[in-house]
Amino acid sequence: MFGPLNVKPGTSRNNKTGSWRTELRPKFLQKDCIACKMCALTCPEDCIEGAQKNTFYCDYEFCKGCGLCAFICPKADITMIEEELKE
């Protein structure tokens, strides 16, 4: 391959990295949330969205299950649950 290789912006979305999760996934309880946005700010994948209190959620298609959101949440409103468990 020679010359410049050009690709379209944001095309990494074709990679569904959610399949990397093996053990745990975050569960957003949406009960005590104060909308501090620390979870969205510390997510290495940028897959957490939300604006108001108790509206934050995570896109499981991309979440790799690192658990940083659950660690950083000051209200412990995010917990890590076993991958097999239903909500």
């Binding site: 379209k8 912006p9 944001g10 990295t17 994948e45 940083l68 659950a70």
Partner: protein, 300 residues
Amino acid sequence: MNRQLFAPGHTACVGCGQSLGARLVIEASGPNTIVANNTGCLEVFSTKYPESSWGVPWIHSLFENAAAVASGIEAALIYLGKKDTVNVIAQGGDGGTADIGLQALSGMFERGQDILYVCYDNEAYMNTGIQRSGLTPFDANTTTSPAGSASSGNIRPKKPMPEIANAHGIPYVATASVGFPQDLQRKVKKAVSIKGPKYIQIHVPCPLGWRHEPVQTAQVAKTAVEAGLYPLVEYENTRLIAVRKIKPSPVEEYLKLQGRFKHLLNNPEEIKKIQEIANHNIEKYNLRVTSSEKNLSTEC
């Protein structure tokens, strides 16, 4: 917030501090940004051909020349009369900044070009398999500075990159950490608002190379700052204008979290040497919080 300038789906490791840092930087800088990237983890995981995570114009050329490529971009923008509306960022890992890319970086500083250089400091060449770099800290165990009976890891201290950048007399130099994301974004926003060459060095934990659990990324970054081993400082026109004040915790708190320092835990003499490095930083930058400053301790 400028969401989705760094799209998900990149192939960074679980809990990667560098992907977090890169996203925080580009969100703070905004959509009117052109990025030149050194070779390194960031380049590899964010642009797996034929895909790209970047929502801004992004270019990679060689390992050492992001600063030179960005210089060309800046010159072209001036020619087109568009420099005032576009930020130019050159970025790279610690090896591409402190070892391989130092001459291009120094040239960029010396020419006084209006570029923000961001160094993601994960303290070794992680992309090629954890070889030591100029920014690897003292006594860290890497594949080219292995700990064993004859040595206790990297024998040299960390290269003082912020001081080297500062010696060029550039208008803004800062260190930041992904453990303090708001502080990091504030520094990037401030840097892009200043005209001239700027340098920001960001401490980004690497779960693979530092051998800690992915969930500990934020904790490791924070304890490094709180132990005094990674002082968060800000220079404007070579004058120290702000530091993040800390209540210093013992360096063991930081070392015991990571596998790369595991060999030190039964070796009080080596820990003492690292504590001396931390004490030196605390004294040099006056990091210790005093009673009258307690209320200000959250500011940088």
